[in-house]
């Protein structure tokens, strides 16, 4: 990777005795940045690393924290290369700063992959400057000096803290070339680092969006129409007379109840009645009809074609065919949607709250209000989960529009019912697979058609085993609906992964093959002689598969029924073996073994959390989650009807990581896609019943 000095790092003037290196975490290669300014008085900093004379290091973490642990992982990398003691580091959340950050968002499990090199360079550059400062002071050659835990050590036992070297170091030119630590010398990377927000969380500090309180702020809740419906009229006469109610206004088919406190707004809201037009709005039966039509149409989009699928199928000795289906589901982060907006008379806007994409919130609000983006300031808050839901800024737009109408700072709060009933759901999809096997049980033809409802391309046409199979045809059909959909943790693959991995289990069985060996054979083929282009690295696939088979005692556990799956997504590889056992006459998933290759593990504690969390998430939703639609209205809308997995329903999980030192890749999502498949296959092994539909338990 190339990175020039000027495009990477800039030194700033001293202020209050601190050494500030503005480092651009997100600067694209080759692009020049202007001098980084650190102006204390505005309260807004650019990305920077500051070391004050006491040796305290402050790192601003730009990406929104949603529970993926980025606010801990990023600074770990900088601190490692800077060579400081982790306990001397203080991490703060940066607000939206489009001038100095790129990719200041949470999504796609892409943050570490994107920033790894930039973070290392930021730390290593500063470290080098401290060495230079010390060597000048001691009049020794810089190459004879070392660093350790925030100190420079000289050849004759000299020792100076970074803090004491701040004044000199800050006047040095920024070095153009730096060397990185050898990974065997890592002190922090790869170890267990606790979340930097833990203390705030366990003591109940107001760090979430829902906790935001600003002077003069009112509270609002919004009644949203059924999907596809138009608001005809509403009656808020009673509500307006109720205590604490400030206003009831309508915009864009919605009715907002504005008041002084949450409870007063909730009570008043219950008295508001809304009338909508009637029409043929989405119901479950509509969706089934669209799936049927989508499966029959000759207008599907061809996503990938290798060889001649139809001819190969015709000459197959055996054909396996199956249909899989997944429903709409809600993200249901524990913190329901909420957002604060203050559209002020002077034309400026303050937005604050939980969003995965603050920059798009800024842009969308600026365009809604027809003002310059620079007038919109965005403060980031910690997010009580999101799982993709907070990639859609509908909540920020609602808050801004309402504030502009009522001319007051307002926090719009969604009840759980609003959140589940007014979602940007995971799209529903149906998949049809066909496999043609030759006389020896080898798959020679593979077909997939994915029909999604507002899913775009519901397939991922380059997914393994594509690349290892001679004749492939992958097609997609998108049916358009008024039900709003969007990315849900591991978009598309969160349900496609289950369907593919469950179908491949059928293929193995029909061909008389072991599911693990069958995949290893395909990967050998993909490696030596790939069919068309492949997007995965066969060797990395092979390694996670082999380790998972070994660590799970694949098919060597008496009384235990195992299911296998493996998936490549977000540039990481995860192989899983799920164990099912019959408990009280019922098949139950009791254990999951997961082997992950995400390259270098930056924070082992956080990494384990992501793997276990994603498996529990994938399992819970595969077992229980389903939203129904009736005339444009979703149900259920709260946890009494919409079942989330609980602590007494989880399997034990062993999470292993491949130790290969490759640049780190994503971890927030990759363990989820293989989960539905591993547990479906284990449950099949236990019951001999294939599970063709999520949720498995209805």
């Amino acid at each position: 990777m190339k990175s020039t000095r000027r495009s990477f790092i800039q030194k700033t003037a001293l202020f209050s005795g601190a050494f500030c290196l503005g480092f651009d975490w997100f600067q694209a290669n080759g692009k020049e940045v202007s001098m980084v300014q650190t102006t204390m008085e505005s309260g807004r900093f650019n990305a920077f690393l500051a070391i004050d004379p006491s040796g305290k290091i402050i790192l601003y973490s730009p990406n929104p924290e949603i529970g993926q642990g980025i606010k801990t992982a990023f600074p770990v990398v900088v601190a490692e290369e800077l060579d400081v003691d982790w306990k001397d580091v203080e991490v703060r959340q940066a607000n939206l700063d489009t001038q100095n950050f790129e990719r200041q968002l949470t999504g796609g499990s892409g943050a570490l992959k994107h920033s790894w090199e930039r973070l290392r360079k930021a730390g290593a550059t500063a470290r080098k400057m401290f060495i230079q400062a010390a060597s000048q002071t001691w009049n020794v050659d810089a190459s004879t000096c070392k660093t350790s835990k925030g100190f420079v050590l000289g050849p004759k036992g000299q020792k100076a803290s970074y803090g004491s070297l701040v004044a000199i170091a800050s006047k040095l030119p920024v070095p153009t070339e730096v060397t990185y630590k050898n990974r065997k010398d890592y002190q922090i990377i790869g170890k267990r680092t606790k979340g930097v927000d833990n203390k705030n969380v366990v003591t109940g500090k107001p760090v979430f969006g829902l906790d935001i309180e600003k002077p003069g702020m009112v509270i609002a809740q919004i009644i949203r129409p059924p999907f596809g419906a138009t608001l005809k009229s509403f009656d808020a006469a009673d509500a307006l007379k109720m205590p604490g109610i400030v206003d009831v206004v309508s915009f864009k088919n919605k009715v907002a109840i504005v008041g002084k406190s949450t409870w007063e707004v909730m009570k008043a809201r219950a008295t508001v009645s809304c009338k909508y037009d009637s029409g043929d709005f989405d119901s479950d039966s509509t969706h089934q009809k669209w799936f049927d039509e989508g499966m029959k149409t000759d207008k599907a989009t061809v996503q990938r074609k290798d060889g001649d699928f139809a001819a190969a199928l015709a000459r197959s000795a055996k054909v396996v065919e199956a249909t899989y289906e997944c429903p709409f589901i809600s993200h249901s982060p524990m913190e329901p949607m909420n957002f604060f907006a203050d559209v002020r008379a002077d034309g400026t806007v303050l937005l604050a709250g939980p969003t995965q994409v603050p920059q798009s919130a800024q842009k969308a609000v600026a365009s809604l209000l027809k003002i310059d983006e620079k007038k919109v300031e965005v403060e980031l808050s910690k997010m009580g989960g999101g799982f993709g839901r907070r990639l859609n800024n509908d909540f920020a737009l609602d808050a801004a529009e309402l504030s502009s109408i009522i001319k007051k700072p307002v926090k719009v709060m969604w009840t759980r019912e609003d959140d589940m009933g007014g979602g940007i759901y995971r799209p529903a999809a149906r998949y049809h697979f066909k496999a043609g096997l030759d006389a020896s049980g080898n798959m020679i033809a593979f077909y997939l058609r994915g029909v999604g409802i507002n899913a775009g391309n519901a397939t991922r046409q380059d997914n393994f085993p594509v690349g290892a199979i001679e004749n492939v045809l992958v097609e997609s059909v998108n049916q358009v609906s008024a039900v709003t959909t969007g990315p849900w943790r591991a978009p598309i693959t969160n349900f496609l992964g289950y369907a593919e991995q469950a179908f491949l289990d059928e293929v193995a069985e029909a061909g008389g093959k072991d599911p693990v060996q069958m995949r290893l054979d395909w990967l050998a083929r993909a490696k030596s002689n790939p069919v068309g282009k492949i997007t995965y690295e066969p060797d990395r696939f092979i390694e996670v598969i082999k380790q998972a088979a070994e660590k799970s005692n694949w098919k060597k556990k008496p009384g235990v029924h195992q299911g296998f799956s493996v998936y490549f997504s977000h540039l990481s590889y995860v192989a899983q073996v799920a164990d099912a056992q019959i408990v009280d006459g019922k098949a139950k998933i009791t254990h999951v073994t997961a082997v992950t290759d995400c390259g270098e593990v930056v924070n082992l504690s956080g990494a384990e959390n992501q793997i276990k969390g994603a498996i529990i998430d994938g399992m819970g939703h595969a077992l229980y989650a389903k939203l129904r639609f009736n005339d444009g209205v979703a149900s259920p809308t709260n946890f009494n009807g919409y079942r989330l997995i609980k602590g007494n329903e989880i399997p034990t999980i062993n999470a292993y990581f491949v130790d290969n030192g490759i640049e780190p890749t994503g971890l927030g999502e990759p363990a989820l896609p293989p989960t539905g498949g591993s547990i479906a296959n284990a449950l099949y092994a236990a019951t001999k019943k294939r599970l063709y539909k999520q949720p498995f338990e209805v």
Binding site: G195, V202, E264, M334, E335, K382, G385, G620
Partner: protein, 153 residues
């Protein structure tokens, strides 16, 4: 402490909106998730469905009041084992765990699982929650031994 608000106001919203105690969280409003768990007279209770009229003379403890310096054994264990992911459910989990441990200072694994399974964690931190309850019980019993020793000395 007196509040001049509608007596039907759920304790959750009285705490959050009128007393500026935002540590107690809203998750469902219908006693299903446990995010709003506080102690009423020492008992873990879901504050989202409890009108303030019902707690007129009660002793209420929220996450903010669990310990003076964030050093209740449950809080220490939660940090030590790095339990939180997004963290939103954790105040409710901690209040549930701390109350559970008062009744069962040396719980078995099954008792911990049962005692903690009423609280939802959407991020799936359940394994570490269960491990942290165990650790908290160990921290608490060590503390107790220490203070007993001190007293008798």
């Amino acid at each position: 402490m007196s509040l001049d608000i509608d007596p039907n106001t759920p304790l959750l919203w009285a705490l959050r909106d009128h007393m500026s105690l935002k540590g107690t969280k809203y998750g469902c409003g219908i006693a299903q998730c446990g995010a709003c768990t506080v102690w009423v007279n020492g008992e873990a209770t879901r504050s989202c469905v409890l009108p303030i009229s019902a707690v007129a003379n009660a002793d209420i403890t929220t996450i903010e009041g669990l310990s003076d310096h964030g050093d209740h054994p449950v809080q220490v264990a939660w940090d030590e084992l790095d339990v939180p992911q997004c963290g939103y459910c954790q105040a409710g989990q901690i209040m549930t765990a701390a109350s559970f441990l008062k009744k069962k200072p040396n719980p078995s694994k099954t008792e911990i699982v049962d005692g903690m399974s009423g609280n939802i964690c959407r991020c799936g931190t359940y394994h570490r929650i269960q491990e942290a309850v165990k650790l908290a019980s160990e921290i608490a019993s060590k503390k107790k031994t220490k203070s007993t020793v001190k007293k008798s000395a």
